[in-house]
Symmetry: C2
Subunit: 338 residues, 2 copies
């Protein structure tokens, strides 16, 4: 990074100058042609996903350093690959940037991306940089999957257990801590930092895939997706694709224990269901396999409910303290309202 000249702007070094800076983050063999060429394993299918992030909508200098923007952008795309059961191969990065963007901002963005990608042996193999009035990052990620191990959203069956990895709502709490300094003052530093870190440095769950393959025979189609848009959204999307419903048990939801220290129990349930950006996996498995999977993962996964034949998704309370609630797919979505 160019800390000798922290105020240098990209309009000072031009497109070619900036390209030279960012090409240092790419494997040298791949640079200099109209397109990147990659050899793939022959017995795998190609898996492709793409995301666009926009300044002020998906990230902000208030809550997110450029390195964290880069990490999160890479992690979100890799998480979509993990959600398909795929191993990541490479990503491309297209950037739209105003001329007054500091060169440092771009280099730190690339640092964050390559730091995340490096943990998964993945490289940036192509890109584009162009002028725009707003900072925009478009990433496309490629992975490979054995066809019989592809995880899909459709195919969940009544009686399947719904398993989720990790906790949910921590990223939402981390965001709140970044947005409102006065929030969560009762937390100790370690818990505060841990929640913020979940928001800034999410981890795509490639680590659970080998464990899944150990337990689940390749003759069984695994159903699932990631929880990038929230746990409720994941369950609703799977149910919609599978033409089934679900019952989630309120007492089994993976609420981060620390949440109840800082928000009401109702709010902690809401963040767990709808907070989003936890990038965990939500899977539907025959109950016996689900139990094996949870056991194998120790305390870092949980069965939260069951697939039902009738098509609605209910949040139930086995203690009957709270009335049953029907969950709706409209709850967690962005709208084009500006």
């Amino acid at each position: 990074m160019n800390h000798q000249n922290p105020s240098q702007l990209i309009k000072d070094i031009g497109e070619q100058g900036l390209l030279q800076r960012v090409q240092r983050f790419c494997p040298q063999a791949i640079i200099g042609d109209d397109a990147a060429v990659l050899a793939l394993q022959t017995d795998r299918s190609l898996v492709i996903t793409t995301d666009m992030l926009v300044d002020g909508v998906h990230f902000s200098d208030v809550t997110t350093s450029p390195a964290d923007v880069g990490w999160r952008a890479a992690a979100a795309n890799l998480s979509d690959l993990a959600a398909m059961g795929a191993t990541p191969v490479a990503i491309t990065v297209a950037l739209g940037l105003p001329g007054d963007t500091p060169v440092d901002w771009v280099e730190e963005l690339y640092c964050g991306m390559t730091e995340c990608l490096g943990q998964h042996c993945t490289e940036i193999v192509g890109g584009d940089i162009c002028r725009s009035s707003i900072r925009t990052v478009a990433i496309t990620a490629f992975g490979q999957v054995e066809p019989q191990r592809t995880i899909r959203r459709h195919g969940a069956k009544p009686g399947d257990a719904i398993v989720v990895t990790g906790v949910h709502g921590a990223s939402r709490a981390g965001l709140e801590l970044l947005l409102h300094r006065e929030f969560g003052h009762s937390l100790n530093d370690r818990d505060r930092d841990a929640l913020i870190r979940v928001h800034q440095r999410p981890q795509p769950r490639f680590d659970v895939l080998p464990i899944l393959w150990e337990i689940v025979d390749s003759s069984i189609s695994i159903v699932g997706m990631d929880s990038s848009d929230g746990l409720a959204d994941a369950v609703l999307q799977i149910c919609r694709a599978s033409k089934v419903g679900a019952k989630l048990d309120r007492s089994l939801l993976p609420v981060p224990p620390v949440l109840t220290q800082i928000v009401s129990s109702e709010r902690s349930i809401e963040w767990t269901l709808y907070g989003g950006e936890d990038f965990e996996l939500v899977l539907c498995l025959p109950r016996e396999l689900a139990e094996k999977f949870v056991k194998r993962l120790g305390n870092s996964a949980a069965i939260v409910g069951t697939i039902t034949p009738e098509p609605n998704v209910w949040l139930t309370d086995t203690n009957h303290t709270n009335p049953d609630r029907m969950l709706s797919i409209d709850r967690g979505f962005q709208h084009f309202d500006s």
Copy 2:
């Protein structure tokens, strides 16, 4: 398209409504998971390229209908695949859109893209739609190439003939006609429309690849790229990557004949060299093969010069009417000056 309600805006139908509209342009089997899964031919390498286009920088309602924006965006990406010798497989499309974007604009954009892609048996297999303050289109295209037939920029050898397909400068002239109504008033309607069409509906040159493979043995590495950033830029990039130079002969440049009716000879040379967006191929081949290739393509390709050992690129004049000019890589680039 929704002509019953032409003023409907995307903020009226929301992200989910818009997704449903654009998913009609994608193969149904591919919709609904976190990522698209594609089977590839096993003996090919994967070729990947990405581009971002921004309203006001790369397109404008003044010169380009949404269908043409879509066509051009798809064509530019496919041209990068053709420039590598690859066959296209699929693209992904990420859109950033203000809420007041008409739904029609988005649907017509997709119409233009799929119209271009349909000519090359290519489909849209994934995408993302998000809110942005400026219309932004990011496309990533995938192709496949037989490894020994990959066209690269490096490897041009002194003595190689420089061959270009098509004419150059027509797209630049078409843009001028769209920008300035008073320009080119001496043109007949047919010539005017033809120049505008070259600008609005460029054709990636996949058609010349089979002819190239017919003539060139797979033991010979073919060197080349497309001329999306101009003919001069392509020659300069190839020379830089190959550590050689070139002599281009002014009298051999593929100037569209009609250009001399509307601009000075000096301007027509400039547009031919630097106009850009003609999306033709610029190849370096042993002279004998280059001559065969040109003959086989009839009048739609030309040898315009020769690769030289010393590293500069010169525009020479065999008639000695004009002094020799050294071409520079800085001439044709965008800068981040706003």
